[in-house]
Subunit: 344 residues, 2 copies
Amino acid sequence: MRATFMYGAGDVRVENAPDPVIQQPTDAVVRVVLSCVCGSDLWPYKSMPAGEQGRPMGHEFLGVVEETGADVTGVKRGDMVVAPFTYCDNTCDYCRKGLHSSCRNGGRYGWDGVDGGQGEAVRVPQATGTLVKLPVGEDSELLPSLLSLSDVLGTGHHGAVTAGVTRGDSVLVIGDGAVGLSAVLAAKRLGAEQIVLMGRHTARTDLGRDFGATDVVAERGEEGIARVRDLTGSRGAERVIEAVGTEQALQAAFGSVTDGGAISRLGVPQYELGPIGPAMIMRNITLTGGVSPARAYIEELLPDVLDGTLAPGRLFDRAVGLDEVPDGYRAMADREALKVLIRP
Amino acid sequence: MRATFMYGAGDVRVENAPDPVIQQPTDAVVRVVLSCVCGSDLWPYKSMPAGEQGRPMGHEFLGVVEETGADVTGVKRGDMVVAPFTYCDNTCDYCRKGLHSSCRNGGRYGWDGVDGGQGEAVRVPQATGTLVKLPVGEDSELLPSLLSLSDVLGTGHHGAVTAGVTRGDSVLVIGDGAVGLSAVLAAKRLGAEQIVLMGRHTARTDLGRDFGATDVVAERGEEGIARVRDLTGSRGAERVIEAVGTEQALQAAFGSVTDGGAISRLGVPQYELGPIGPAMIMRNITLTGGVSPARAYIEELLPDVLDGTLAPGRLFDRAVGLDEVPDGYRAMADREALKVLIRP
């Protein structure tokens, strides 16, 4: 098959790779119908040291089951399925409490001999626990929105859930990337009354308004914090979803949250140490969030995607074939595209 | 009146001070029946720069109302009352959501012209919102336990609540001081199944066992973390209450908490920066807690103190008169005493 590999910063190649085959009785092989590029793929795209060995890329995909191992139940050859961005057994103690991202038998696509999602097919470990059947055909117009269940929609939802968003809350979302915009969708769905979106790219913040943002703050730093405080009656936002990962975004979060409020981080932190000294204690700020247990949320979010209540497929503003994937990375890194769909 | 002042590290004096009088119509004057020394008083006792001006000390007290301003309702002359360790109006937006520690009209005893609690009397601002009437007399044996509603019991309870302790949880309490032991009481009350107490002072950890600790870990550092993991089936504790405030205690908390678990901090951090990088995100750890909104919890905890279900008065292992307060500070700083009661 053809699949995507990264050899270093800026060096993405589409190459021949062995066709996936069942290796364990718990495996399934899925032919990929749709995949995409993740914002988190851009971190190695900017910083990965060059090497001889390519890393298989991609962790978001949906497709058709081609083959299943002897122990796989629940899905069968021919089923349309979506895969959450980490695989999991859905039965261990962590999975049972909804933390599939820490599954004892789980792992990441593209690591430990598992294929990446940006290719023609994927061997999916722990297929029974991982794959969720979709009640649509290969030609459904809903496929891009359904693909978002793999990662970005569930990640935004995780931010809203861990921040504790409930009906009537004022919510600040920091970052107008695909995760931030998904967090807007999720906060709206959970009943937030005010959703302030902090971002500077008009096309993206306009989509954010369509998704439910009530206010947009283009300013950064102290100026941005002051704007948020103006918009929230001086108190600050009760729930902050930080979808960037930089120190500057974290400072904006601490500056904008109300006393007793919560900051949920979704972006992978680009720092090791952060400001959690006495001021955080005096103000009773909670710092929460993390890698989304995407599998935990699929059943809950699926009906709203199927009936069109949520249309996260609008996040994809460019589509490429496999051979154009390297240009898709470039377009996202250059902010030409918000999120790039891949049709292998 | 006589009252306690600190002039610098190790320099505590009991001196004459003006008798408190009503200054605002919302004030009350309370004659102090019981007060005590707080673990947080030991930080300035160890580090305060010497100066000409003494700082009024003490923020935990109960006593009898002597006089009330024209606007005070709910309490009257002769009532026995307990004061939470920050005063508050109990009506502002923060108070209404239970965050009395951030009250818009609140403040701290010993600051801004308000008396400290370690003296014969206190002018209490915002008396209507602050003071809670106690249905006991001056001679009640319950007074030491009732005094703990002012701070230490509510603080332990705040740790358990913010950490999310619910029935069946495994909880780790780091620190065998009065706050840690109160957190044990609170976790037990909320239904924790396993309560591991990390501390090295046998007399204190023995009291912790009486309060509900199921296990005691005397080891520190990596050894302590390994012991906690042994005791919690390798996964770690679901809820960690960190009642020390040092970097070492925070490291123990991160090392001992399970993926998806919560760390609630009660000790004032003796650091500005902490380890909140990618590892925290990958493991979905929540960092929460803070200064207790003690006023919020008094009505909830009071019945359990009155009927003896909770006996936090056992935390006081030494009692002194006003003139002996300096020696009370010394005894607590030298770890001769766990918590010192003051009978003015």
